[in-house]
């Protein structure tokens, strides 16, 4: 399978792609209301504020009330989209648990500024724990799109899906590599590159890095498969186990703490169904710091080279 071509490194951000997509959807579906905690400029929802202001609801800097109130709005037939930065959504994680998930309300929490991709704002703004927390809550669907095109398709899919969703966007410019006719299905992993020696499972901004790493590895005659896990929950266990058993070695790549994130998620599946040697690329249980996203990726060893190194290491364990 031919790998998708990477176009630049500073494309449109995932938050902007989300903002445009939800704005277009809202124009055609009056049930959609977008709730903001005074960060519309940062989450992309300024597009909604401009294009369909009557569906943009300013809830102020009060995330707990915003999340529980969204559950109440959903009761009246609306589709509330709660938007804020990922770390601030964690202020309302218990509100998500009881008001949204336990009640199985049709509320979508869409969070920008995940991971070290946040860059210079530093540790307080870099959310490295969200996937672990949201995926541990029953009824939640957890989605992490990889590029602006997939973001647009995923946004439409979460509106179609009746039930609670957490979705990550992203702050920094993201390379576009998906084709415009790609299909996004909740719960389906995407095979971006087939391979025989090792499988790299990646999510979000790490997918582009995994594709680049696979290119580098191919020059060393290492044939790496790259699988985009854009739905972290429910995990596509069939695809994950199929590739793990076929290639016999696994690397996971996430802009998130390795505790509870994608690596844990894949390990849970493989330990039960198809154990294989595995290396995790992710933040090793620490907080971030200020720096550019690329500098941080290198410093915290979640860059392309770190994926290459992890593949080299896991192949020795095969």
């Amino acid at each position: 399978m031919a790998a998708p071509k990477l176009i630049g490194s500073q494309g449109e951000s995932l938050r902007e792609a989300f903002g445009k997509a939800i704005s277009t959807l809202a124009i055609n579906d009056k049930r959609i209301v977008v709730l903001d905690g005074d960060v519309a400029g940062g989450t992309g929802t300024h597009h909604v504020r401009r294009n369909c202001p009557e569906q943009f609801i300013q809830m102020g800097i009060a995330e707990q009330n915003m999340v529980s109130a969204a559950a109440g709005m959903a009761q009246t037939g609306l589709i509330p989209i709660v938007t804020t930065f990922a770390v601030f959504s964690l202020r309302a994680i218990e509100q998500c648990r009881l008001s949204v998930a336990c009640q199985n309300q049709n509320v979508k929490i869409v969070a920008s500024h995940p991971g070290l991709d946040v860059g210079p704002d530093g540790a307080s703004a870099q959310c490295l724990e969200d996937i672990a927390m949201y995926r541990a809550i029953p009824n939640m669907t957890v989605i992490v799109p990889s590029d602006p095109i997939e973001m647009e398709k995923a946004t439409a899919a979460i509106i179609e899906h009746d039930g609670p969703v957490y979705m990550r966007t992203g702050r920094s410019g993201a390379p576009t590599f998906q084709s415009s006719d790609m299909t996004f299905t909740i719960g389906k992993a995407q095979i971006l590159r087939d391979g025989t020696d090792v499988t790299i499972f990646a999510m979000g901004v790490m997918v582009a890095r995994a594709l680049r790493a696979a290119e580098t590895l191919s020059q060393r005659n290492i044939d790496a498969a790259v699988i985009n896990i854009s739905t972290v929950k429910p995990l596509d266990v069939d695809t994950v186990t199929q590739f793990a058993s076929r290639t016999g070695a696994v690397v996971t790549a996430e802009d998130h703490n390795v505790i509870g994130g994608l690596g844990s998620c894949i390990a849970e599946a493989l330990a039960q169904h198809s154990p294989a040697p595995m290396e995790m690329v992710g933040v090793k249980d620490s907080f971030g710091q200020s720096g550019s996203p690329d500098e941080l990726a290198s410093h915290f060893q979640i860059d392309e080279q770190s994926i290459v190194n992890a593949v080299t290491k896991v192949l020795r364990r095969k």
């Binding site: 009330n65 529980s68 109130a69 559950a71 008001s99 336990c102 009640q103």
Partner: protein, 289 residues
């Protein structure tokens, strides 16, 4: 049809008997706040809101949220009076498999408008319902009942600010102000006064009433409906109301076990003739399975 004050008093008395029976059957529960809130809930559910088994699928229906979810036994007893819940379900509170969960759980009871039990969240749920109704021009009313200790949660004041900002005149909050919380009197834990001034300064229409007087309750809800602002009714109540050995005693907040002598004494005070009590206990001591 409008109910007389005597009708409501009878309903409240029966709800007190049944909610305590359910707590007795469960071996645990929160009797103090259950008893303080019963008159409020009778007024809200029998008189103020249109909540019936028939209108449960109507998205434009009135909504009720018991934000102080630990008063669930009171809610279940009145839901049984309204035909929303069977006697068997109501009396099997807190038992494995019963829909009468320790705190209201929407996944087990479809007529509930909110799952509660984590203080503060129900208030925001109700604010969201009122916003949804306002945005879609639905005529529905939303009433939420909060505890007083619950007001110590920051989320309550986020919600209060929000309701006022959006001028939610279709929302009424009732505070079951029994002055006691889990461990002690409010004032010894984290003082709430001046409570009425706090809500006024947040932009709410406020009233302070006797929460056990059906005339005052009824008048207060009428005033609330006519207010252009969200309205709060501070209902002064007695924790453990109706059972003298529980009244104003913090340890009856719960979760506590009621012994056989506790329930016999309580039922006696709640109007069951002494010689009828053995048969009453026999009839209403129920296991889910």
């Amino acid at each position: 049809m409008k109910k007389t004050i005597e009708n409501k008093q009878q309903l409240a008395q029966q709800a007190r008997q049944m909610s305590l029976m359910s707590i007795y059957n469960a071996g645990s529960g929160h009797p103090g706040g259950t008893l303080s809130s019963i008159d409020i809930l009778v007024e809200v559910l029998h008189e103020q809101l249109d909540i019936t088994p028939q209108n449960q699928l109507n998205v434009e229906r009135d909504r009720f949220v018991l934000s102080k979810g630990h008063s669930a036994p009171a809610l279940y007893a009145i839901a049984n009076q309204l035909g929303l819940m069977s006697e068997h379900e109501m009396l099997t509170l807190r038992q494995l498999g019963s829909p009468a969960q320790g705190h209201p759980d929407q996944s087990m009871l479809s007529w509930l408008d909110a799952s509660t039990g984590s203080l503060g969240q129900g208030f925001s749920n109700a604010v969201g319902m009122a916003m949804g109704n306002q945005l879609q021009n639905f005529a529905a009313q939303t009433i939420v009942v909060l505890g007083d200790g619950e007001l110590q949660e920051g989320q309550v004041w986020e919600a209060a600010m929000c309701a006022s900002h959006f001028k939610l005149r279709n929302l009424t909050a009732v505070i079951d102000y029994n002055k006691l919380q889990s461990d002690d009197f409010n004032e010894n834990i984290m003082g709430l006064e001046p409570l009425s001034d706090k809500f006024s300064s947040f932009g709410w229409h406020t009233q302070s009433i006797d929460g056990h007087d059906f005339y005052e309750l009824s008048s207060a809800f009428n005033n609330a409906r006519n207010s252009p602002k969200p309205s709060v009714i501070i209902a002064n109540t007695v924790k453990g109301k109706g059972v003298s050995y529980m009244e104003n005693i913090p340890s009856w907040h719960g979760s506590v076990e009621m012994t056989e002598s506790n329930i016999v004494d309580a039922l006696t005070e709640l109007g069951i003739e002494s010689d009828s009590i053995p048969a009453f206990l026999e009839r209403f001591s129920i296991r889910w399975q």
